[in-house]
Amino acid sequence: MDPPDKARLDSDFSELYRVHLRDVYSYAYYRVGNHHDAEDLTEQTFLQAYRHFERAQAESDGRPLRPWLIRIAHNLAANLYRDRSRRPQTPIDDTTGLSTMHTTEDLVEGRDELARIIEGIKTLPEERREALIMRFALGMDNREIARAMGKTDGATKVLLHRAIKQLEGIVTAP
C-alpha cells in the first residue's frame, strides 16, 4: 500500500473510532462486567481493528463496520475468559456490573421491575445476553447483530425473541 493511501486509511479509521468508541466500550463493559477489563478490551479491540481495517473496509462494500468491531470485541472477550480459565473477576453474572449503571433513584422509586430485569439478564445464557446487549445497549438492528454474531438474520430474530421471552419468564415468576 502506498503511504498516501495509508494516511487516508488512518483518517477513516479515526472516524470509525470516534463514532464507535462508546459502542465498543458499552459492549465490553456489559460483557466483562467491570471498568478495568472493559478498558483493556476496548483498547485491544481498536488496535486489532486498526491492523485489519484496510481489508475490512475493502470487503465491507459500503456496509457499516460496527458489527465487525463488535465481533472483534466478542472474540477478544472470549479469549480473555479462556485465558483466565474462568468467568470474569467482577462478572456481569455477579451483582455489581449492571447495578452500578443505575442511579439509586432508578432502583428505589418503585423500580422493582427494573431490578428484576437486571437480575434476569445476568441469568440468561451468554449468547442470548449478548444479543440483548447489542440490541438494547448499542441499538443494533437484527442485520447488524446477525453479522456481529456470525448468524443468519432469521436465526438472530429467533435468538432475540427467545431471549426476551426467557427474560419475561424470569421477571414475572413469583
Binding site: K6, L21, R22, Y25, E39, E43, M101, L114, A137
Partner: protein, 106 residues
Amino acid sequence: MLRLALQPVDPPDSLKVRVETTLQGLTDAAVDELDAWEIGAMRDPRNWVRPVVASAVGATAGTALVVMRVRAQRKKHAAASSDPLDLLRRTVRAAAGEARKIARRD
C-alpha cells in the same frame, strides 16, 4: 425497561486519552513513513514515473495554453504582417512571449 436496564456506558476520559495516544502513535508512524517514502522513492527508478507523468501533464497543459493564445492573436498578427516570413517571425515571437508569461506565473 430493557433499554433502561442496558443503558449505553460512556467510556472514561482516561480511556479516550489512552486509546487516542496509541492510535496517534500509529498515525505518526504512517506520516513518518510517508516522508521517508517521498525522499526514498526518488532513489528508486520505478517511482520516477509519477513525477515524470506530473511534469508531462503540466508541460502539455502549458503548451496547449500557449498555442491557444497565439492562435487567438493570429488575425492581429496577419493583419500587421508585411509578408509570410514576417507573419512567421511575429508568431514565433508571440509564442515565446506567452511561454515566458506562463513560466513566470508558475
